[in-house]
Every structure is written in C-alpha cells, then in structure tokens.
C-alpha cells in the first residue's frame, strides 16, 4: 500500500518533467536525423510556458471541461499504473481519457477539429484490441507455472525472475507497433501531427489556444511516460538487473519510434487499421494462444 502511494506521488510529480525531457530529446533527435541543429533540449518547457502566458480563446465552456477531464484521466491512468494496481483498470481508464479529447474536439464544430476527432476514433479502433491483448497477455504469462494468472501490476513484476517478454515476444512486437499510433508518430499521426502544414491543420488540437493547448501538451507528457512504463513492464522482473535493462529497452524503443517517424510518410486510416489488426492477430493473439497450451 505504501509502495503504491509512493509510486503514484512520484509519477504525478515527476512525470511531466520526464515527459517534457523525453519530448525535448525527441525533437533534438529528429533535427539531427534531418541534418539540422535543432531546438534546445528544454524547448518543450519553453513552449508550454509561452502557451500559459497567452490569451485563451474558448469556443465554448465544454471545451474547457473536456480538456481538463482529458488531463485528469490521463494522469489518473498513469497513477494507477505506477501505483501497481490492476492493469485492466488502467486500460479502461486510458480509453475513457482518450474519449474526452475526442469529445473536446467535436464540441468545437470546426471542420479541422472534427476531422481530427473522427481520425482519433479510427486510431483508437486500431490500437485498442492490442492494448487489451497486452493486458490479457500479462495475465496468461503470469499464469504459467505454479501461480494463478494475475492482472495486478506489482505481482506481474514480482511473480518470477524471468522477464515477461520471454513469454510474450509476439505481444511485445504488437505493442511496439501500436505504440507508434499512441505516440502520434508518422506513419500513423493521422489525427494530429507534430509537423506543420498538414491538410487538417493541427487536427484534433486545432481549436485549442494558450493555456488549453498547454494542458494537452502536459497530458501528452503524462501519457508518454505511462506508455514507456508499459514497455518496461515487459522487461521488469524480481531480479535487480531487470531495472537497468528495462531502461535500456525503453530508450531503444523510443529511438526506434523516432527513427520510424522520420523515415516514413503517413498512411491512410484504412491501412493503419488493417495493419494494426493484422499485427494484433498474428503476433498478439497467436502468442497468447500458444501460451495457453502450457
């Protein structure tokens, strides 16, 4: 209990800093890959500070409400995760949070926001099966051997001295695939792109100004730290060496995402949906199916 309280507090306090730093590294890496010098490492923090200092032009009050709900639910998702609670609960709260962003964009009635919202729902449709399978995968993997399966995150880590990824290589690949969608990286950045001059302007975030946009940025930092935490969960086990190994794997996964972002053009939604589901079925489902036989 005390352990999970510490986890929650640490996450709520430090995740924005870590997330902002990760985003700064992302922009620096991207610039280097393109042969540019790139912005300072702390640029994301400067951006958010500036946004807070700008005027807020609200379209309606619902926008305000939903943007706040998005932040709170994203932070809640991560807090549950780092608190070591039930992973299924985490998955469901994450979906709820994503829905609030969609709602926010729909209330504005702006064609760009609404288009972004529609595409965001396509993205949710693409990654949601794999996220659920990841949770199920952990349950099945912990069920191997003398124990019963569990959805409890602390038990997933402590139940054995072999990293879960050994049992779940397919699920891990599937999760990495949808991580590209979740991190809003090209080729799957179809609802909102970090790059300028898209056909849908800034997609789902088009109508957010000043402090509201800052809120969304911060919640993306929270979200990214949570998503990378889920990568780490594949590696962590009861042995001490799994902690540095998990950090290395997280860094490698993130580098891979940035590399993919810079080397691929965005695809249409139907290709995203099909490929994500095929990967989910081929890697995720078959992996779990094979595990079930033991």
């Amino acid at each position: 209990m005390v352990g999970s309280m510490i986890g929650i507090v640490l996450y709520l306090v430090f995740a924005p800093f870590v997330g902002g730093l990760i985003s700064g590294i992302d922009r620096k890496l991207t610039a280097r890959m393109q042969g540019r010098i790139g912005p300072p490492l702390l640029q994301p923090f400067y951006d958010v500070r500036k946004l807070i200092n700008k005027e807020i032009l609200l379209i309606n009050n619902m926008q305000f409400l939903f943007a706040w709900c998005f932040v709170i639910f994203i932070a809640f998702t991560g807090a549950l995760f780092y608190g070591g609670v039930n992973i299924l609960l985490v998955v469901f709260v994450l979906t709820t949070a994503a829905m609030f962003l969609v709602l926010e964009a729909t209330t504005t009635n702006s064609p760009f926001s609404v288009m972004g919202a529609n595409r965001e729902m396509m993205q949710m449709l693409s990654y949601e099966p794999m996220v659920l399978l990841t949770a199920v995968g952990f349950y099945v993997a912990t069920g191997i051997g003398p124990h019963d399966g569990t959805f409890n995150i602390s038990e997933i880590i402590t139940h054995s001295d072999i990293p879960n990824v050994v049992y779940l290589p397919g699920v891990f690949i599937g999760y990495l695939y949808i991580l590209t969608i979740k991190l809003r990286k090209s080729p799957f950045d179809i609802s909102m792109s970090h790059h300028a001059h898209q056909e849908m302007v800034k997609g789902i975030t088009t109508e957010l100004t000043g402090g509201m946009m800052a809120l969304i940025e911060i919640s993306h930092w929270y979200e990214n730290v949570f998503l990378l935490g889920l990568v780490a969960l594949f590696i962590l086990c009861s042995k001490w060496w799994s902690i540095p190994l998990a950090l290395i794997v997280c860094a490698a996964a993130f580098f891979l995402e940035v590399l993919i972002d810079n080397t691929s053009a965005r695809v249409k939604w139907d290709l995203m949906l099909k490929s994500a589901w095929i990967i989910t079925l081929v890697f995720g489902a078959i992996n779990i199916f094979i595990l079930q036989m033991f």
Binding site: R27, G38, P39, Q43, K50, L57, A196, H197, Q198, V201
Partner: protein, 147 residues
C-alpha cells in the same frame, strides 16, 4: 530578451499576392542551412497557435478579408511581420488594379523586412526583431501591474 514568449515563437505564414519568391525564401529558413527551429521557431499552419503572422506579398481585394480573419483568430500577444517589399508597400505590383497596397493597409504591422526577395537571413533577423515586440506586448497585456 529571451523570456516567456520569446523563446518559443510559433509562426503562421500567409501568402498574399506574392510572386512566390519570398515564400520560397521563408521555406528556406526551415532547411538545415538556416534551421529556424534552433530558436524554437515553429512554422505552424494554425492561427490559433501562432504568435507571429508572417505575410509575404501585398494585399488585394480578395485576400483582404482572409488576412483580417487570420489576424483576428490569433490569441494575444501577437505580432505581424511583413516580409518582402510587396508586403511592405505593394512593391512591383503597387500599381495593379486589384492591389490595395502593403499589409499595413488592413492590419497593424510591427516589423518590416524589405528585399525582393527578402533573404532568409533577413527574414530570421526580422523574426528575431518581432520577438522583442512580442515580449513588449505581453508585458502590456498583463497591464504592467503584474510585472
């Protein structure tokens, strides 16, 4: 100078009735040689996220309303930077039947970047000048009392 707003200026580039010469120079600023992202400058396509409105080319009877609307959609503090002699006063197109004149005929302009075409280093210089104005405006926005 580098305070709250000045470290993260986001641009909105609007092409008025330019010959596209200046537009290409604006885009050149994004390339590895000039790399404006060094200064945290982002070329955003969205007036609601923009701090600096960068206009190339003059104002004609058809784009007048567009420019006014873009300007009104930007949240305070905001500055306008007219790039190229066309945007400053109409330039070579000044006498055309459809040209109203420079950008300052419809919205207040804070920085003028002359040149035909304006060179990337002149444009970056203009944007950096605009940052000073932006910071000034932010202070005034707070009513001076908060500072």
């Amino acid at each position: 100078m580098a305070t709250k707003v000045a470290k993260s200026p986001w641009l909105l580039h609007y092409d008025g009735s330019s010959c596209n010469g200046c537009d290409i120079e604006v885009l050149a600023c994004l390339t590895p040689i000039y790399d404006v992202e060094r200064f945290g400058i982002i070329n955003t396509g969205n007036p609601k996220h923009a701090d600096i409105l960068l206009i190339t080319g003059g104002i004609n009877t058809q784009n007048k309303a567009v420019v006014e609307q873009l300007y009104s959609q930007m949240p305070e503090p905001k500055v306008v930077c007219a790039v190229g002699i066309c945007a400053c006063n109409g330039g070579v197109f000044k006498e055309c039947y459809n040209i109203i004149g420079g950008v300052d005929k419809v919205i207040p302009v804070d920085v003028y970047v002359p040149g035909c075409a304006a060179r990337p280093n002149a444009i970056i210089d203009g944007v950096v000048k605009a940052l000073g104005v932006l910071e000034e405006k932010r202070k005034n926005m707070k009513g001076g009392a908060a500072e």
